[in-house]
């Protein structure tokens, strides 16, 4: 996606106000900000866009006709022009006509819409099936046949959100690990969620489907163009709702196959040799990164939590107590609370992040948790 060039300019308040005014009075003088559906890259998204335009123009035509009559009447039939009021107040034929005509117009709208719905609901014969899991606040992607799975987190730095550094081009629409799919392939998406309802929405792909905890829903898309497409969670899911974007990278079929191979290899390295014994400081370094991506949204970057909602880790009895109890909660979550299970993270990531919480954030147990311990606890 490309943005008009003026977007990247640092926005100072007076300049922005002036521009708001300029856009308001003369939209043609400047490039108009995005104001219509994003360019579709799937057949379904194209049908949606066409359907929208088709119905939009019918509505515009009716609107102009009806309010043309009204404004004519407002002008002609006013007392100040000494128009004398007529006294008619009933006409059955007219009533029937303006009941039947709208009904007929609706038929012309319903027909193409029905065709599109039938196409949208046909999720049979996919070339690739991906399970998407909504979490507070990240997306989990599992390639069921390929055996690849990972989490996708917002990668916009906090400093940009808090206005301490200039915002990047893809502010809030960028992730660490995008979803990667092959072009011209029917991709079936199975959706679920681990905590609350989320919705997976990529406008250019014409896909928006709620992810409902405890249930699996499905949808599909067939991207026809190589590129990067961005979307966002579309169902209010708590305070991080605005911060869990979706990035889909559509690659050529060869590049996709290559990516699957590379990703598997990488996962094996990261998942690594579970028997390797890590140094405490290495675990802390990796753990800090994992913490920032997965835990800081609730427990806060400083580990102080949010009183009443998310417990503090700094000084927590659990974190400073025996390792086993903490490993259990991180692996399996805490039912009835916002703490989800994190078993989809690799052993190394989990060992690092637990070690980090026990030796950072104001805690100092001096103990390292090794990947082997996580592996043992999984069983």
């Amino acid at each position: 996606m490309t943005f008009p060039p003026f977007i990247a300019r640092p926005r100072l308040l007076p300049a922005s106000l002036a521009m708001a005014f300029a856009v308001l009075v003369s939209p043609a003088a400047l490039a108009i900000p995005d104001w219509n559906l994003q360019t579709p890259v799937t057949p379904i998204a194209r049908q949606m866009a066409d359907l929208h335009l088709y119905i939009f123009w019918i509505c515009v035509a009716i609107f102009v006709a009806v309010f043309g009559v009204m404004f004519y009447s407002l002008y002609k039939h006013r007392k100040s022009r000494e128009h004398k009021a007529a006294h008619f107040h009933e006409n059955t034929i007219v009533e029937i006509v303006w009941t039947v005509i709208p009904f007929l117009i609706l038929l012309f709208m319903a027909f193409p819409a029905t065709k599109t719905i039938l196409a949208m609901k046909d999720t049979t014969a996919p070339g690739l099936t991906i399970k998407v899991t909504g979490n507070q606040w990240s997306w989990g992607y599992d390639y069921l046949q390929e055996g690849v799975s990972y989490l996708s987190n917002l990668s916009t730095p906090v400093a940009q959100i808090e206005n301490r550094s200039p915002k990047g081009e893809h502010y809030l629409l960028e992730v660490d690990n995008p979803l990667v799919v092959p072009v011209d392939t029917k991709v079936r998406v199975l959706l679920t969620a681990s905590d609350v309802i989320h919705a997976w929405w990529v406008p250019a792909l014409g896909v928006k489907q709620d992810a409902i905890p405890g249930f699996v829903r499905d949808t599909w898309f067939r991207a026809e163009k190589i590129g990067v497409y961005r979307g966002q969670c579309a169902e209010l899911c708590g305070k991080g709702h605005g911060f869990m974007p979706i990035v889909v990278e559509v690659k050529s079929k060869e590049d996709f196959a290559k990516w699957v191979g590379e990703h598997k290899a990488k996962t094996q390295v990261a998942g690594g040799d579970p028997n390797k014994v890590w140094e405490l400081k290495d675990l802390v370094v990796t753990g800090e990164r994992v913490y920032a991506a997965n835990c800081a949204a609730c427990h806060q970057p400083n580990g102080k939590g949010v009183p009443g909602s998310y417990p503090a880790l700094d000084g927590s009895k659990l974190v400073r107590g025996p390792k086993a109890a903490q490993i259990q909660i991180v692996l399996h979550g805490k039912p009835g609370t916002a703490m989800p299970p994190w078993s989809q993270l690799s052993d190394v990531d989990l060992a690092s992040v637990i070690t980090y919480t026990r030796n950072g954030l104001g805690n100092k147990t001096g103990e390292a948790v090794q990947p082997a311990e996580i592996l043992a606890a999984r069983k």
Partner: protein, 537 residues
């Protein structure tokens, strides 16, 4: 409608005597308002209460627009932002719009059907006095540990099962508000069915009474459903039930079905009284009887009935079976037919009339124009494949503000200007009211029109921060919102001036085209009216 002749037995002069007779039986000061069973007092309290809530909810909207003025987090943190959008919705729907409609009903229904008061006068008092505690619960919830409810006004679980005790405050507030609405509705139905003056047959009633009669039935049908939904939420939160939790055999989507079974008729509960007000104003200022009175009644009933079978169009993206999608899409599209009939009838009423454009008429025309625009976006949203791109985006926010703000609220402003001479005995300041209208009309569109573009371009609703390509429209919308908010102070000032009697004295019938019963009593309407019923021919 045009043939009603008014033969009210107590002559105009006798009313003042009546007033004095009764005045000294009544307590004065605060006790008067706490204990009053008079429909006019209660109507006044409803209207002031709803305006106060409008200002509270409006302040929250200002916080929302201030945060969204620029990308990045500036003013509030995301959790508080979510509380603002949640409480803004709840307070505007349950605290501002609905009580305002009941206020109009209290004042106008007895006056328009020639009844001395509402049927259950004490229950009427109780319906009103339930509102302030409910409103206080909502406002206090901002200050409890964990903050106010932040799951959106739709209260979807499991998110609302997660949240702190602010959510419980909200649930109890909704219970109380629901009880108040149900009692109000029973009162309105009984009043209309039993207390009409001799000769005032149902099909001679002013249309405002008709739309409220139908609204009251809708309320009785759906408020208990909402109470059930939030009660299940409460027991899921605290008593170990799992209605909405798959792990215990429940289903989060069940809540949405139950909620929207309430929620869609609720949309018509909000708009039908507004239709009624507009149907009084347009004939009065066109100096011509309402066109197609009978078809207006049938169209209102048709809309009400259809409103029960369209709820799942709010849930097109939850993943429904194809047959469900098609049924709810077709049913939703059908609503355009009776709604269209109403719009055409209003236009036919204006056609070849002798129109003047005082503030009530301006607001009615503003309503007609912008409500219809909101109706068209509603039609676009009803097309399921299109809705998939727009569900939960700013397009939806634009759509429902066109029908609720430019729809209901504008009609209520029109109604307030139309009847304030009767209520207060003082004419409002016409030039100020016109400034209020034009300022509201323009700022409303500056605020909400760009939201269509934001939604189309892909901005989800209920987010405290957004990507850079949404920056320009958001800034424009925020400027419009502050302007709109400030404009409403003009209305407040106008109404206070009328209440204090500052202004021209109003005659009994300030509008020469108005022909309903309330204009046959003096202005201000005496404390007791129609103690002997008028004869309607």
């Amino acid at each position: 409608m045009s043939t009603i002749a008014h033969d009210h037995a107590p002559g105009v002069g006798a009313h003042d005597g009546h007033h004095d007779d009764h005045a000294h039986h009544h307590p004065t000061g605060i006790t008067r308002w706490l204990t009053t069973t008079n429909h006019k007092d209660i109507g006044t309290m409803y209207l002031w209460f709803s305006f106060a809530m409008f200002l509270v909810g409006g302040t929250m909207a200002m916080v929302i627009r201030a945060e969204l003025f620029q990308p990045g987090l500036q003013i509030v943190d995301p959790e508080f932002f979510n509380s603002m959008t949640t409480l803004h919705g709840l307070i505007m729907v349950f605290g501002a719009i609905m009580p305002a409609a009941v206020g109009f009903a209290n004042w106008q229904i007895p006056l328009m059907i020639g009844a001395p008061d509402m049927a259950f006068a004490r229950m009427n008092n109780w319906s009103f006095w339930l509102l302030p505690p409910a409103a206080m619960l909502l406002v206090i919830s901002l200050f409890v540990p964990g903050g106010a409810a932040a799951g959106g006004w739709t209260l979807y679980p499991p998110l609302t099962v997660q949240s702190g005790m602010g959510m419980d405050f909200t649930i109890f507030a909704v219970h109380i508000l629901g009880a108040s609405s149900i009692m109000g509705s029973i009162n309105i139905i009984t009043t209309i069915l039993n207390l009409r003056a001799p000769g005032m047959t149902l099909m001679k009633m002013p249309l405002f009474c008709w739309t409220w009669l139908i609204t009251a039935y809708l309320l009785i049908a759906v408020m208990p459903v909402l109470a059930g939904a939030v009660t299940m939420l409460l027991t899921d939160r605290h008593f170990g039930t799992t209605f909405f939790n798959a792990a215990g055999g429940g289903d989060p989507v069940l809540f949405q079905h139950v909620f929207w079974f309430f929620g869609h008729p609720e949309v018509y509960i909000i708009i039908l009284p507004a239709f009624g007000i507009v149907s009084q104003i347009i004939p009065a200022f066109s100096r011509k009887p309402l066109f197609g009175y009978a078809s207006m009644v049938y169209a209102t009933a048709g809309i009400a009935i259809l409103s029960f079978i369209v709820w799942a169009h709010h849930m097109f993206t939850t993943g429904m079976p194809t047959a469900g999608l098609l049924f709810f899409m077709y049913a939703t599209m059908l609503i355009a037919v009776p709604t269209g009939v109403k719009v055409f009838n209003w236009l036919a009423t204006m056609w070849r009339g002798a129109m003047t454009f005082e503030a009530p008429m301006l607001f009615a025309i503003g309503f007609l124009f912008l409500f219809t625009l909101g109706g068209f976006t509603g039609l676009i949203l009803s097309i399921m494949p299109v809705d998939v791109q727009m569900q939960d985006t700013y397009y939806v926010v634009a759509h429902f503000h066109y029908v609720m703000v430019a729809g209901s609220l504008f009609a209520f402003f029109g109604g307030a200007y139309y009847w304030i001479p009767k209520w207060s005995g003082t004419m409002y300041n016409e030039s100020l009211a016109k400034v209020h209208f034009w300022s509201s009309l323009l700022s409303f569109n500056v605020t909400f029109f760009p939201m269509h573009f934001l939604g189309l371009a892909g901005m989800p609703r209920r987010i405290p921060d957004y990507a850079q390509q949404f920056a320009d429209w958001n800034m424009i919308a925020s400027v419009g919102a502050f302007w709109f908010g400030a404009s409403q102070l003009l209305f407040l000032y106008s109404m206070i001036q009328c209440a204090r009697g500052k202004g021209e004295k109003a005659p009994a019938r300030p509008w020469d085209g108005a022909d309903t019963l309330e204009w046959t009593v003096p202005s201000p309407a005496p404390y007791h009216t129609f103690e002997t019923p008028p004869q309607v021919k």
